[in-house]
Amino acid sequence: MNFSLLVYAAPHSRQAAETAYRFAVAALAQGHGIHRVFFYGDGVHNGSALASPPQDECDLPARWQALAKEHELDLVVCIAAAVRRGVLDANEARRYEKPGHNLREGFELSGLGQLAEAAIHSDRLITFGA
């Protein structure tokens, strides 16, 4: 079965993003596909390269990145939600004349249309919200 996940919660402040990650791991272990993980609202913070939790805590952005690398996952961060919250790639940093960019490698910024596309082309869309 082909899943897409909507992550609508920031890491650390809410548990939902971690639940989504565990779901992705379990689905992949069962041989299912993940069409896309779409990060929306405060969920865009999962795509930050600058999150620096203590070493004995879960570094969720890093784990998403590693999982995506291993399974060639499509990790899409909603561009409108992200730039509002200060999660920028190099292009957006240039466009808004910001001093740096922080979108983690393995994630990409794109429009909300990617959520609609994911829902259309997946067997199930599962929301992890807060």
């Binding site: 079965m1 899943f3 609508y8 548990q15 939902a16 639940t19 565990r22 779901f23 791991v25 379990a26 689905a27 272990a29 069962q30 299912h32 199930r124 869309l125 599962i126 929301t127 992890f128 919200g129 807060a130």
Partner: protein, 93 residues
């Protein structure tokens, strides 16, 4: 058949009411995160609705021995399987 997930505690009464109102026979309600606390007192659900709680969240909160009767515990693989066996997933949060 719809899988409903609920991740807020029973003190969020308005959410719980809206979620329960949406349940019909053959649906499954999966309690996760703080939603597993709804399994303590149990829930009055429509006939034919199955209620399950996510194992990791039950264990994390130390309530494994306190779940109301009739509530099953499923692991993450069980969560994935529930998604496969229902036509859609509605998340209440």
């Amino acid at each position: 058949m719809t899988l409903h997930t609920l991740n807020r505690p029973p003190s969020d009464r308005a959410l719980l009411d809206d979620c329960i109102a949406a349940l019909v026979a053959d649906d499954t309600l999966l309690l996760l995160e703080d939603g597993v606390y709804c399994a303590l007192a149990g829930l009055e659900l429509p006939a034919g609705v199955r209620c399950v709680a996510l194992a990791a969240d039950v264990a994390a909160r130390g309530i494994g021995d306190r779940l109301a009767t009739g509530i099953e515990v499923v692991d993450d693989i069980g969560f994935v399987e529930l998604c496969c066996h229902h036509s859609r997933v509605a998340s209440w949060f």
